[in-house]
C-alpha cells in the first residue's frame, strides 16, 4: 500500500524524513486510520524545539540530523541473561514479560498471569479494533504529546494488559533496548486496562543491552475503571549513551486510585512525561518521581494533572538529586477544570545539589478554573544541611557515610511509600552505586 502524505514537503530534517520513510514501510492494520492522522500531525508539527513550553530545558536538535531506522526484532535467545535481571525477587513477582525494542516476546504461558490478561496489541486490535482505537485517541497536538503521535503512528506491536481481579503479586515488564548499530529507534507501547474493582502492581523496567542503545520513544497508557487500584512503576536503568523519550497517560474513572512511581537511575538523556486525567469524581492519583542526575545525565520530567471532576485528588512528590555535571528538571502542572469543585492537589518538589556543576530546575504550576478547591505547591532546591552533617560527624560517623545517609534521607519520602519491598531494596542499591564521589562532595561543601 502506498501512502501519500500531504505534509511530506515539511519533513525537512533527516530525522523527519527517516520517520516518514519508516511510515511508508509499515503495512496497513486495523489501526491505520488513527495512525495516519497521527503521522500527518507529527510531520506537520515537527520535532519539538526549545520554543515549545515543555521542551524549554531539553534540546533535541542533535536528533534532527540523524537518519533513524527500526531497531531490530530479537529472539529470546539473543537476550543476554544479565539483561533479564529483574527488580524483584522471584517469589514476589507473578511473571516477567519481556519486550525487546518494543516487540513483545511472550512465552506460551504468558496469556493470563495471576488475574492479569496478557495479549499483544496486534492481536488485541484484530479482535477489538474499535476498543483499541479508543485507547489511542484522542490525538493531541500539545507539545508534550509530540512523541506520542509518532509512537502511535509507528509502533508495530506492544503489550495489552487487562487487570480483571485483585492480583496479589506484581507483574514486571522488562523493556530491553538493544541496537545493531547507530541510529536505531524503538517504539515500545503498553496499554494497561484495569477493570472495575480490580487491583494490581505493574513494574516497567527499562534496561539496555550492548553498545548501541536505540532511541526509545515509548508510551504507556493506563486506563483505570471504576474503583480500581493500580500501583505502577517506570524505572529507567539504561546506560549513559541512551536517549529515552517516554510518555505516560493515565485516565481515571470514578473512585479509582493510582500510585505511580517514576524512577530515573540511568540513561544519558531521559525525558519522561506524565499526563493524568482525573475524569470522574473520587479519582485519586499519587505520583512520585525519584530523579537521579549522575555524571552527564540529563533528566527532564514533565507532569500534567487535570482535575476534570469533583472530589478528585492528586499528590505529586518529586525528589531530585544531581551530582557531577548532571542536570535534572522537574516541572509539574495541575489544572482544575470548571466544575471540579472540592478538588484537592498537592505538589512537592525538592532538589538536592551535590556538585557545583550540577543543576536542578523545578517549577510547580497551578491553573484553577473552579471554586472551593484546595491546592498547595512547594519547591526547593538546596544543598546538604550543614547542621545535619555536623550532628552525624559529632557522633563519629565518617563524612562519606554521613553524606550518603543524608542523601538517602532526602529521598525517603519517595522510597518509604513503595509497597513492594524487594523493588524498593533493588532501587535503593542501584541508588547507592550512583551516590557521588565523596571527594567531590568534600570540595563542594
Amino acid at each position: 500500500m502506498t501512502r501519500n502524505l500531504q505534509s511530506s514537503a515539511q519533513a525537512s530534517s533527516a530525522a523527519l524524513r527517516s520517520f516518514e520513510a519508516q511510515w511508508r514501510m509499515r503495512t496497513a492494520d486495523a489501526l491505520s486510520p488513527v495512525r495516519e492522522q497521527a503521522m500527518m500531525r507529527f510531520l506537520k508539527l515537527g520535532l519539538p524545539t526549545q520554543q515549545d513550553e515543555t521542551w524549554r530545558y531539553t534540546n533535541l536538535r542533535s536528533l534532527a540530523g540523524h537518519s533513524f531506522s527500526d531497531a531490530p526484532r530479537k529472539t529470546r535467545g539473543e537476550i543476554e541473561p544479565h539483561a533479564s535481571v529483574s527488580l524483584l525477587d522471584a517469589k514476589e513477582r507473578a511473571a516477567t514479560l519481556l519486550m525487546v525494542n518494543g516487540y513483545p516476546l511472550l512465552s506460551a504461558t504468558d496469556t493470563t498471569v495471576n488475574g492479569i490478561e496478557v495479549n499483544t496489541i496486534r492481536e488485541f486490535s484484530r479482535l477489538e479494533p474499535a476498543l483499541m482505537r479508543r485507547f489511542l485517541e484522542p490525538l493531541s497536538d500539545a507539545d508534550q504529546q509530540r512523541w506520542t503521535l509518532l509512537n502511535t503512528a509507528l509502533f508495530v506491536d506492544g503489550l495489552y494488559l487487562k487487570v480483571t481481579t485483585q492480583a496479589a503479586t506484581p507483574l514486571v515488564i522488562l523493556h530491553v533496548s538493544t541496537g545493531d548499530g547507530l541510529d536505531n529507534v524503538a517504539y515500545p507501547r503498553v496499554i494497561i486496562e484495569a477493570a472495575p474493582d480490580s487491583k494490581a502492581t505493574i513494574i516497567e523496567h527499562h534496561v539496555a543491552q550492548g553498545e548501541h542503545t536505540p532511541l526509545s520513544n515509548s508510551n504507556t497508557l493506563i486506563a483505570l475503571g471504576r474503583d480500581s487500584q493500580l500501583e505502577h512503576y517506570r524505572v529507567y536503568a539504561t546506560d549513559a549513551g541512551a536517549t529515552h523519550l517516554d510518555s505516560l497517560d493515565i485516565r481515571q474513572q470514578q473512585g479509582s486510585r493510582c500510585k505511580q512511581f517514576t524512577i530515573v537511575l540511568g540513561g544519558g538523556v531521559v525525558r519522561t512525561s506524565l499526563e493524568a486525567h482525573l475524569g470522574q469524581p473520587g479519582a485519586t492519583l499519587d505520583s512520585y518521581s525519584l530523579l537521579v542526575g549522575h555524571q552527564d545525565r540529563h533528566v527532564d520530567c514533565v507532569n500534567t494533572v487535570t482535575h476534570g471532576a469533583r472530589d478528585t485528588h492528586s499528590h505529586q512528590t518529586a525528589r531530585a538529586i544531581a551530582s557531577d555535571a548532571s542536570r535534572v528538571i522537574f516541572n509539574s502542572k495541575v489544572i482544575v477544570n470548571a466544575g471540579a469543585v472540592h478538588a484537592e492537589s498537592r505538589q512537592s518538589a525538592r532538589g538536592l545539589l551535590l556538585s557545583p556543576s550540577a543543576e536542578i530546575d523545578t517549577r510547580p504550576q497551578l491553573e484553577i478554573h473552579a471554586d472551593e478547591v484546595k491546592c498547595a505547591h512547594g519547591a526547593t532546591v538546596g544543598r546538604l544541611d550543614p547542621d545535619m552533617l555536623f550532628y552525624m560527624l559529632s557522633r563519629g560517623l565518617d563524612r562519606d557515610t554521613a553524606q550518603s545517609l543524608l542523601v538517602y534521607a532526602f529521598l525517603a519520602d519517595v522510597l518509604t511509600d513503595m509497597s513492594v519491598p524487594s523493588a524498593r531494596a533493588s532501587i535503593e542499591s542501584a541508588l547507592i552505586s550512583q551516590l557521588p564521589d565523596s571527594q567531590v562532595l568534600r570540595n563542594f561543601r
Binding site: 555536623f390 550532628y391 559529632s394 545517609l405
Partner: protein, 250 residues
C-alpha cells in the same frame, strides 16, 4: 589531665566570641559552665566538638595530651568526646537506632574492635532506653523526627550512655525539661560518672545542679571565664544574679 583549654580565642562571622578561655578538667570531675546569654557557652561547646563554622584565632586545647583542634569532628567523637546538643537536629529518613549503631561501630572500629553484634546492640539499647524511660517507638523513628523538646534531650543522653564517652559536654541539656524529665536526664548523666570520665555541663540554671552535683562551677562572660568556685558559686549566682556576682570581680 583529660581536657586542657589554654587561652582559647574563636570568632564567627568576623565577631570574636571566645576571648581567652582557660579551663582544666580532670577525669572523674563534673564541671558546670554558667553564664548569661551570649557569653559564648554554646560556642565553646561547639568549638570543642569540632564545628568548622568557627575560626580558632588563638590558644590550644589538648584532650588526653593530644591536640584536639587538629582533629576533625568525627575523630574527636571516636577519641571519646561527646557533645549533647542544645538543639538536636531532626534528620527525617535516617533511623534513630541506625545512627546510633553506626556511631558505636565507628568508635569501635577506631579502637580496633569488631562491629557490635546486632542482637547484643538491640539488647543494650533496649536496656538504656528503659533507663531513660523512652518508648519503643524511638527504635523505629527518624533521628529526633517529631520528638518533643524533652524527648530530644533524652535521646541525647541515651546516645551518650551507649557511646560511653570519656568527656561529655552537655549544652543546656536541662533546658525545656519538666521536673520529671530533668530527674531522668540527671540520673542518666550521674550513671556515667566514674573515675575515668568527666562531664562538662553548660547551663543557665542552678536547678540542674541540684541533681548533678558539680565539682567546679565556672562563670563564662564575654568570652572568658571570669570566676570559678565550688557548687556554692551556683547558689550565689541564683541568689544574686550574674551582674551581682560578676560586679564583685570587676
Amino acid at each position: 589531665m583529660l581536657l586542657k583549654i589554654s587561652d582559647l580565642h574563636a570568632r564567627v562571622a568576623g565577631k570574636d566570641i571566645l576571648r581567652g578561655v582557660n579551663l582544666e578538667v580532670r577525669a572523674g570531675e563534673v564541671h558546670a559552665i554558667m553564664g548569661p546569654n551570649g557569653s559564648g557557652k554554646s560556642t565553646l561547646a561547639q568549638v570543642l566538638a569540632g564545628r568548622e563554622d568557627y575560626e580558632i584565632t588563638g590558644g590550644t586545647v589538648t584532650f588526653e595530651g593530644r591536640d584536639l583542634l587538629a582533629l576533625p569532628a568525627e575523630q574527636r567523637a571516636r577519641a571519646g568526646l561527646f557533645l549533647g546538643f542544645q538543639y538536636p537536629v531532626e534528620i527525617p529518613g535516617v533511623n534513630n537506632v541506625y545512627l546510633l549503631k553506626a556511631a558505636l561501630n565507628a568508635k569501635r572500629k577506631a579502637a580496633g574492635e569488631p562491629e557490635v553484634d546486632a542482637y547484643e546492640f538491640l539488647t543494650l539499647i533496649r536496656q538504656k532506653m528503659k533507663f531513660m524511660q523512652m518508648s519503643e517507638s524511638f527504635l523505629t523513628r527518624g533521628v529526633n523526627e517529631g520528638f518533643s523538646g524533652g524527648e530530644k534531650k533524652r535521646n541525647e543522653v541515651l546516645q551518650m550512655l551507649v557511646l560511653e564517652p570519656k568527656l561529655a559536654i552537655l549544652d543546656e541539656t536541662d533546658s525545656g525539661l519538666d521536673i520529671d524529665a530533668l530527674k531522668v536526664v540527671s540520673a542518666g548523666v550521674n550513671s556515667l560518672r566514674d573515675p575515668a570520665r568527666a562531664v562538662v555541663l553548660v547551663t543557665h540554671y542552678q536547678r540542674l545542679l541540684d541533681y548533678i552535683v558539680p565539682d567546679q562551677v565556672h562563670v563564662l562572660s564575654q568570652g572568658r571565664i571570669l570566676k570559678s568556685g565550688d557548687k556554692s558559686l551556683a547558689l550565689e549566682l541564683e541568689a544574686r544574679g550574674y551582674d551581682g556576682v560578676l560586679g564583685q570581680v570587676a
